[in-house]
Symmetry: C2
Subunit: 583 residues, 2 copies
């Protein structure tokens, strides 16, 4: 038995099993040590291989595919700092519960910690940020070690996918020569051709008695709200709406809850709370007795404050991933249970309410706020608010809208209101980084079309390297680049009152003409002149293939003023209305 036969058989068994467990996509960064795994993967007929030179972009690209498909995606890189470049995406995957299978090639044991080239300590490289780490056994072709390779692979996929989903890391020591022996039938599995071990991972559920008790408790409250943060379950939307209908509770729907768009009934959806929960009269008048929370913490700071101010309310948090997504320190009941299943079971345990004056108040205030917000649509200058306000109308049916962190996600929250289209809204809201957003969106675009990305200039700059994927793989993506020449969010924070170091430390204007880089990546670039030009280009780009960047230049200070004016006008109207109601 030669070393190369051992190497080939062991890796081929692993790769065959990887495909059997349902993994379709592999993102590979070029390198020497990873050669045997890269070559064997490329030989497999059912794996889709994406090659990316920058491992940071590669890992976010993989994250994007995994987010869009809810299936684990494999990553492969060589030894050394290549693997360390995955760290930000691994952490994002961990917190946002996205399944990734990180495969790193390593020097064999005798070349570790001895100053050998391109050798770093890869054992537990990502610390507690992966659900599982395995230092793989050196390749061998014995029956036991083939079973081992297949079993570890099956466990890796299952662990990455089970609730809460997340990244796993397998580290492979490979000795030279690194060239596998390719051949017909190398992926044929001698026994258990359908996969070595079928792993069913289950979801969390509570007892019927508990559902019954919670149902009775919930129905006993007159003033209840449901808060939905980011959640990606496909059945959840219908179930939570059915529950809301039974309880007559409004649903405070975060833009990432997937509840602001869809064929479902929008009646219960509260979408303008980020504007009106800044008003004291509204907050006073809408105080809840009970809150049910699903998904991650919502984006809106106004909502977070509202929740904190209502700590006397009973607060149920339902989490299929058994985590603790509760920075407000106000939870009274933590329920570890699949969210859609929870809604279904509780719903069937209660009698429907007929109506609710409390819900009507939310409904009225929300409509009032929406009316005020629609004032942005008459703004003549290019502005963030208007852009997000009209996106719901402009986006084609079935589109995916990926949104950058910092200001875009907040503007989305404020201005992207309920619509009956099928639009999936995504963002990297695990750690809220400005890193890797371009690549994540391109990963999404590689499996989900049409795809739109809205992001700011600092976020765009941070992952310019990600654009290479669009060029190499002819990916279609529409990028709306909001360029306010720096960090717009800081204008909203207290440091804006400290002019001395502001521009240097926070404003950080880049003064970059992004046309150059878009052209380098063979994209179509348009500098948007005005709203009518925007409409034209937006429509035109729907039939243009490839990378398209529409740059919308805005002014940080004006954006700040526009937002503050709008919130003031919302607030004024609400106060007038609520005082009027009382009189």
């Amino acid at each position: 038995m030669t070393h190369q036969e051992d190497l080939t058989a062991y890796i081929a068994a692993f790769v065959a099993e990887l495909s059997k467990t349902g993994v379709k996509d592999v993102v590979i960064s070029p390198g020497s040590r990873s050669t045997p795994m890269a070559m064997v993967m490329s030989e497999h007929p059912d794996l889709r291989i994406h090659v990316q030179v920058d491992e940071r972009s590669a890992s976010f690209f993989a994250l994007g595919i995994a987010k869009a498909t809810s299936k684990p995606v494999a990553l492969l890189c060589t030894s050394g700092t290549a693997a360390a470049n995955y760290y930000p995406a691994v952490i994002e995957a961990s917190i946002s519960r996205v399944p990734l299978i990180v495969l790193t090639a390593d020097r064999p044991h005798e070349l570790r910690d001895v100053g050998a080239p391109q050798a770093i300590d890869q054992i537990h490289l990502y610390g507690k940020n992966v659900k599982w780490f395995v230092e793989m056994a050196p390749p061998e072709k014995t029956e036991d070690m083939i079973r081992y390779a297949r079993t570890v692979c099956a466990r890796a996929t299952a662990t990455a996918s089970s609730y809460p989903a997340g990244p796993v890391h397998l580290n492979f020591p490979f000795r030279e020569p690194l060239i596998p022996i390719m051949g017909e039938g190398m992926f044929e599995l001698v026994d258990r051709a359908g996969g070595y071990v079928d792993i069913q991972t289950g979801h969390l559920s509570l007892s019927d008695e508990t559902f019954e008790r919670i149902g009775q408790e919930l129905i006993s409250y007159r003033k209840g709200i449901i808060v939905c943060g980011q959640i990606d379950s496909s059945e959840f939307a219908d179930e939570v709406i059915a529950l809301a209908d039974k309880l007559k509770f409004p649903i405070i729907a975060d833009p990432l809850s997937q509840l602001r768009s869809g064929a479902h009934d929008g009646h219960y959806i509260i979408d303008a709370y980020d504007a009106f929960l800044r008003n004291e009269d509204a907050k006073e008048s809408l105080k809840p007795e009970v809150i049910i929370r699903f998904g991650a913490m919502p984006v809106s700071k106004a909502l977070t404050i509202f929740i904190k101010e209502n700590r006397n309310a009973r607060q149920f948090i339902v989490d299929s991933g058994a985590g603790w997504r509760e920075p407000s320190m106000s939870a009274s009941d933590m329920l570890y249970c699949d969210e859609a299943f929870f809604c279904k079971q509780v719903k069937s345990s209660v009698e429907p309410k007929n109506d609710s004056a409390y819900f009507d108040k939310w409904f009225a205030v929300n409509n009032l706020a929406k009316d005020q917000l629609s004032a942005v649509s008459i703004v003549e200058e290019l502005s963030e608010g208007k852009l997000f306000h009209q996106l719901a109308e402009m986006l084609p049916e079935g589109a995916t809208l990926f949104v950058g962190n910092s200001m875009p996600i907040r503007d989305l929250d404020s201005f992207f209101l309920f619509n009956n289209k099928k639009i999936k809204v995504m963002a990297n809201r695990g750690a809220n980084g400005i890193d890797g957003v371009v690549s994540t969106a391109l990963g999404v675009a590689s499996v989900s079309q049409p795809c739109y990305l809205v992001l700011g200039d600092l976020t765009f700059y941070h992952d310019l390297n990600g654009l290479l994927a669009a060029k190499l793989y002819n990916l279609d993506i529409n990028i709306l680049l909001i360029n306010n020449n720096g960090g717009g969010i800081f204008s909203f924070l207290p440091q804006a009152n400290e002019p001395k170091h502001f521009e240097k430390l926070f404003g950080t204007p880049l003064d970059l003409d992004f046309r150059h880089v878009v052209e380098m990546y063979k994209g179509k670039y348009d500098l948007i002149k005005d709203w009518s030009h925007f409409s034209t280009v937006f429509a035109e780009n729907q039939i243009v293939e490839g990378l398209k960047v529409m740059e919308i230049q805005t002014i940080r200070d004006r954006n700040l003023t526009e937002h503050r004016d709008l919130w003031k006008s919302v607030s004024r109207e609400i106060t007038t209305k609520l005082k009027g109601d009382i009189q």
Copy 2:
């Protein structure tokens, strides 16, 4: 005492002490959580603040300054994946022994692991890759906590700087409001104005008896060689040459040993070994009885194999950092001692040898190889070999030459031969990554002029973001971009014989016209047409300020052939000569 007073006093004490310990440069990436530290640092009169948006580039930029100055540089970023982007540079700093002080802002304890925005687990974020990790106490203005902040700061600088130098990580929990109260005299230290605690870290030394014994042993060998890998000690060069002169041992000088350039005597310097140690006759004829190694393992694979093939030789390894930089598994004596001091002490314990036939043979073979290698200078096509061969002549006195990994460092090794100029040669040879090279070189350029960077297209692409620093801070740098449209090194490896997946997985042609991106960063770009054009542009750029990129397009296959032909001709001549000697 308000929170902001606590915050300000604690941070100001830390920052004042940081400056007292000798830290000059701080590289800051914009963020919200890090606001108090960033603002206080900017207020300090003696700190040089560099702002970089992409934390990966920021950390390599800091690495470059620290490498060039041999002084610790501080890094500051906000909470979340921002800090994870430092990981590759932190690992590189750890392995290549460069002092970095990584400061990360974090959420306070009550906002950790509860799904708060931009919060990740930052405790021991870099694992064992930092020499010291401290979870800082929350800011307080008590006398004890001010002493604490100052002491930890002094220890951080001392730990980062002491042998072996490396990165340390301090994690600061900051609560809102994050705005410090700036004021006159905020950095005035109430007591011990010159610094809180003076830390002297010492260097390793052996006993006089040990030096004496080793000296006697060394002098007893007829056939000895000194091998110098990467080493940055400023006194080392003179001391090792004096030792070689006494022992009559040749010095096999890696390009990063700082021995291939300099005012010192080149008589003992062997610089063409990478070419002639591929020849069996040379290797047979030059077998050593004793090897003394200093610094990291050399770049040359031929040399590594030669060392491995001579495991019967006594092998002394001298390491001031008490590490184990010895992948050849052939060391017989590991000596933990300052390298320059070792040379000095051993030298003074031995009587000088008069001559050595063994040394003469190394000298003759080296000269023969150099003659053959000089054939590259008549090549008409643009080629890597000729480029590095003529660089020694073209570079201005006092220049720093930073070289990318993969092929450039190997070509440098083969073709950049001894010269009497003052040229400092640098590379990221800790983990040999292709990441962060542009930024590291720009960090070097910010403190050391004139600065030249030679790198390949994949390495250039990997850190294009780094170029922003050149634009924002008007840094002068001359970049020689060797564009062979992909991963040239793989053509030299066995996978080149596997055409099926080669271009996709290893060749990875990017087909990028880099002119665009250089123009975006306001640099001067020249596509080099031929050697005469190269000379003209090279000379012209010496008086042009800012970012200058000279792109030299080469062909991967031709480069491979050229190298192989040269090595063959070296080998042929050596065999003829050595056989002639024997007859």
